[in-house]
């Protein structure tokens, strides 16, 4: 977690551009990672991050310090990313089989699944699932916050999160299926 000194935050609130630049430079990796994981594309992510920081600059006077500045930035950035997906009609609920849980009754999952396998599995999910999973599991947003951003009820958000988790487990199982073959090829 990046720590931002309180005098930098206060200077940002007073409209100090240099202080805001320091905030941008300290948080750009986290913000970009969050947005990239939601929108799933490097060019789109760069545009959305710029929009997010512009919104943060305009809104930072309203930041009251109730939460960490990084949490506030995550909310602004994830909101910009979700808005981006919504404008491109990529937030529709995917059509799923009646018994989704059967999807992950697949081959035994390897225990040595690494970060790149998880990133790849995440990237294969529909955007609507990726968005809720990333916001909830990686950046700790509450169900209520996610529901607000997705224009959905808490109940609908829980259902979407449940389906997203099942799909992620399924995709990780698929990764585990193909990884050993690839690794054998690399080592031979």
């Amino acid at each position: 977690m990046v720590e931002i000194p309180s005098h930098i935050i206060e200077a940002c609130r007073q409209g100090d551009e240099q202080a805001f630049e320091a905030l941008v430079r300290a948080t750009e990796r986290q913000t970009y990672s969050l947005v990239f994981r939601i929108v799933g594309n490097r060019d789109d992510a760069a545009d959305v991050v710029q929009d997010a920081y512009l919104k943060a600059w305009r809104g930072i006077k309203e930041f009251r310090g109730d939460s960490a500045i990084t949490s506030w930035l995550y909310r602004v950035a994830s909101n910009a990313a979700v808005e981006f997906l919504r404008k491109r009609n990529r937030l529709a609920e995917p059509i799923e089989p009646d018994r989704m849980s059967e999807m992950i009754e697949a081959p035994e999952q390897r225990s040595d699944v690494d970060g790149s396998d998880v990133e790849a599995a995440l990237a294969r999910l529909p955007a609507a699932y990726r968005a809720v999973l990333v916001m909830r599991e990686l950046y700790g947003l509450s169900i209520e916050e996610i529901a607000k951003q997705m224009n959905a009820t808490n109940g609908a958000t829980k259902v979407r999160l449940h389906r997203a988790r099942l799909r992620l487990a399924h995709e990780i199982s698929r990764s585990a299926d193909v990884i050993p073959i690839n690794r054998e090829k690399k080592t031979s």
């Binding site: 990796r29 710029q50 992950i104 009754e105 829980k158 988790r165 487990a169």
Partner: protein, 149 residues
């Protein structure tokens, strides 16, 4: 208890999000159901793996911070100019390019404009002379008729 009843709660159970009474209810089913327990295990492992990802693992493109600041400065300069310039000046600023366009049209067509203006001036002069002559005639006629009567 049927699997369909607890199915919607299995991944929330795996992520530790259920309230106590719901968790107890789900767990009572899991004790006797191998397939639902497997779903919980796999979902728990997937969620754990996801949570292990670094929040800043992905390298942003070079110059992203500079691009952000350039956009902010661009926005700020527009906002500042709008605040500082009073409304007539803002209106003038917007009209200036259009006035420039009018000037360009005038220069490009100056010969036609000079010819039209010269002809119009000559016509106005002739009309003025004719009007003067008519007035003089009208003023002199009653005096002549009075002499004849």
């Amino acid at each position: 208890m049927r699997c369909e009843s607890v199915a919607p709660y299995l991944t929330a159970r795996a992520s530790g999000e259920l309230e106590d009474h719901t968790r107890t209810w789900v767990d009572s089913h899991l004790q006797s159901c191998v397939s639902c327990s497997a779903v919980v295990d796999r979902s728990a492992r997937a969620t754990r793996a996801l949570r292990m990802l670094e929040p800043d693992a992905i390298e942003p493109p070079a110059g992203l911070a500079n691009a952000v600041m350039a956009r902010i400065q661009e926005q700020d300069s527009v906002v500042t100019r709008r605040r500082l310039l009073p409304l007539p000046l803002v209106a003038g600023e917007q009209l200036a390019p259009r006035l420039g366009e009018v000037g360009r049209v005038l220069v490009e067509n100056k010969e036609t404009i000079v010819n039209v203006a010269g002809t119009a001036a000559a016509a106005a002069g002739v009309a003025w002379l004719a009007w003067k002559a008519l007035r003089t005639l009208r003023n002199t006629r009653p005096a002549n008729s009075a002499l004849h009567s």
